[in-house]
């Protein structure tokens, strides 16, 4: 997935000399290929993220296409105001790349973890929010981010969860849900984003559930969410992000208004990590490990089925 990212960046930069990569002194090995192939388009802006994002706005103002890279804890979180005022307010074509989102830096503690970035960016007017799940979604996301010619936040989380799709995504359009698996319509359907799509697929195979991936959290197509809701008995959202303001919120905003549906939002509870450990350990600490997620989905499935029964029998 990271190779897909690097390849896409190099390809876009070679095709368009206006593409610039700005990094806040991060991406040690990640940008080796870029630095080799496009040295004139690589700018290490120093450990100065606020200035870097403002500078990207200035570069975009005079015709460049900046891709601004940082850890998600810093780009976008440290620089939310620069993104809002300097970039999004003028609809400037800047792509913000937030790496290590969620609990990737599981041993380093809260400063490097990012479970609020979708919520913060989603509320910024006009800013699109991408959250690819595998290498195929990453390639499609990078192409989309370049082609949209406006402000984009691309979230990169845990990247070694394997492929979700079987091959390149040819029809990647704005806000669409990608169907990954068709399951039983009388059971809950799973809508997941980023690293949690893989977890959703694993559980869906055991329980025969439908799975959709949301490579884009904003915009999110109303019709796709409603179709998922009508093709399932309740929805479960999964994300390595706070249960507040992320994919779960985006889905429930749509269903509550257009297709009333029970929705179980699985994500990071409203608290910081208490301990450190492996990524798998932190998922467990926050109830996002596969056992806990499976149990909660099964319980939700029973509740929804009972609810449907009690409604039918009343």
């Amino acid at each position: 997935m990271r190779e897909a990212f690097s390849n896409a960046l190099v390809r876009l930069a070679l095709a368009d000399p206006k593409v610039l990569l700005l990094t806040g002194d991060h991406g040690y090995a990640l940008f080796d290929e870029f630095r080799k192939r496009c040295p004139g388009q690589y700018i290490n802006a120093g450990i100065a993220e606020q200035n870097m994002v403002g500078m990207a706005a200035g570069l975009a103002r005079v015709g460049f296409r900046p891709f601004v890279y940082g850890l998600a804890a810093f780009v976008p979180i440290r620089t939310v105001e620069q993104i809002k005022l300097d970039i999004a307010h003028d609809d400037l074509p800047v792509v913000l790349l937030g790496d290590g989102a969620g609990f990737v830096y599981s041993h380093l503690g809260t400063s490097h973890q990012s479970t609020e970035d979708i919520a913060c960016t989603r509320a910024i007017p006009g800013l699109k929010v991408l959250s690819p799940a595998d290498r195929f979604e990453m390639t499609a996301s990078m192409d989309y981010a370049y082609s949209v010619n406006g402000p984009v936040y691309l979230r990169m989380g845990k990247s070694d969860r394997g492929d979700v799709h079987t091959g390149p995504i040819n029809s990647f359009s704005s806000g669409q849900l990608l169907k990954v698996r068709r399951g039983k319509v009388d059971l809950p359907g799973l809508i997941a984003t980023g690293s949690m799509v893989s977890t959703a697929v694993d559980i869906a195979q055991e329980l025969d559930l439908s799975v959709w991936s949301a490579p884009m959290v904003k915009p999110l197509l109303k019709d796709d969410v409603c179709a998922a809701a009508s093709g399932s008995n309740g929805l479960v959202t999964l994300e390595e992000h706070s249960v507040l303001g992320g994919l779960g919120a985006a889905v429930t905003e749509i269903t509550s208004e257009h297709h009333p549906t029970r929705v179980l939002r699985l994500g990071v509870p409203d608290r910081f990590s208490e301990y450190c450990g492996t990524h798998a350990y932190l998922l467990r600490e926050h109830g996002l490990d596969i056992e806990t997620v499976r149990n909660r989905i099964s319980e939700f499935s029973r509740t929804v089925a009972l609810g449907a029964h009690s409604v039918a029998s009343s």
Binding site: I43, N51, G54, M55, G58, R61, F64, D90
Partner: protein, 284 residues
């Protein structure tokens, strides 16, 4: 001290941007809109006068011309001074002045980049300069001779991104960028010395790698000379002009009285302020 090119003041017959008339425009706007931030605009009147009259290039008098120079008002609170210049240029008409702050009006109380003629959305301090650094980097990469001027307040120098941007500007040898500090000695809650002392700004910016000059920020000829000297000196170095100014300059009862950061005009103070400008026939 570095050896700078000898001063060569250029006499101008351009009667636009007369400081007293611009201050009157600011007062008329502030009175019409019952707005604050009058004193913040008054401290930079001569600076913007000299910039617009002698330095900024707008091909075809087009505020969005691709080949223009960029004036980035990082201290967005002084935006009425820039509006006054835009009025002189014909980019704004009298209805903008008299209709300031009416419901649905385009001109806001702080710089907004969606207005043609304003380059950044500022007022949240410490933003505009970084955007200006990015513009300068972009123009440098394009190899044009366009210039970027960024006016920052001395209070605004409290903001960290200014110093991040200063490092980057020097590192990338941005000699197309001029930082202009409106050193009026005040910020919102008091003097800069009392709130967060800035120390020797000339020494600071020089140490950051800027070609730096200090100037009386209300002396048009001196400002003009200093700007020319800075552009002529130190290839490969960004420029800093430290302009000593007086907050509220031009209306004696506003000068160095920080209440005029916040105070609105009433009919009496408006009349007194207009009279203090000493413009013949300006007794309305």
């Amino acid at each position: 001290m570095r050896n700078l090119a000898p001063p060569r003041a250029e006499a101008s017959t351009d009667t636009r941007f007369a400081p007293a008339r611009m201050r009157r425009t600011v007062l008329e706007m502030a009175y019409a809109g019952s707005t604050v931030h009058i004193a913040c605009a008054f401290s930079i009147i001569e600076l913007v006068t000299v910039l617009y009259r002698n330095h900024l290039r707008y091909p075809g008098n087009d505020p969005r011309a691709a080949g223009r120079d960029y004036l980035v008002l990082s201290k967005g609170h002084g935006v009425m001074a820039q509006y006054a210049c835009m009025h002189e240029l014909g980019w704004l008409d009298d209805s903008h002045i008299q209709g300031y702050f009416k419901d649905g009006s385009e001109l806001k109380g702080l710089s907004d980049s969606r207005v043609a003629g304003l380059e950044v959305t500022s007022g949240s301090l410490g933003h505009g300069f970084s955007v200006g650094v990015g513009i300068a980097m972009g123009l440098q990469r394009k190899g044009t001779d366009q210039k970027v001027y960024a006016i920052v307040g001395d209070g605004e120098l409290n903001e960290g991104p200014i110093w991040e941007g200063a490092l980057v500007a020097a590192h990338h040898r941005m000699d197309n960028l001029m930082l202009i500090v409106d050193k009026n000695g005040f910020q919102a809650m008091g003097t800069t010395d009392d709130v967060l002392a800035l120390g020797d700004l000339t020494a600071k910016f020089t140490s950051f790698g800027f070609e730096t000059l200090e100037v009386d920020g209300h002396d048009e000829a001196a400002i003009d000379i200093a700007i020319r000297q800075l552009w002529a000196a130190g290839a490969g170095r960004p420029k800093a002009l430290i302009a000593r100014t007086v907050k509220g300059r031009g209306v004696p009862f506003m000068e160095s009285d920080n209440r005029w950061h916040y105070t609105r005009l009433n009919p009496q103070t408006f009349a007194e302020a207009i009279a203090a400008l000493g413009i013949p026939g300006a007794s309305k």
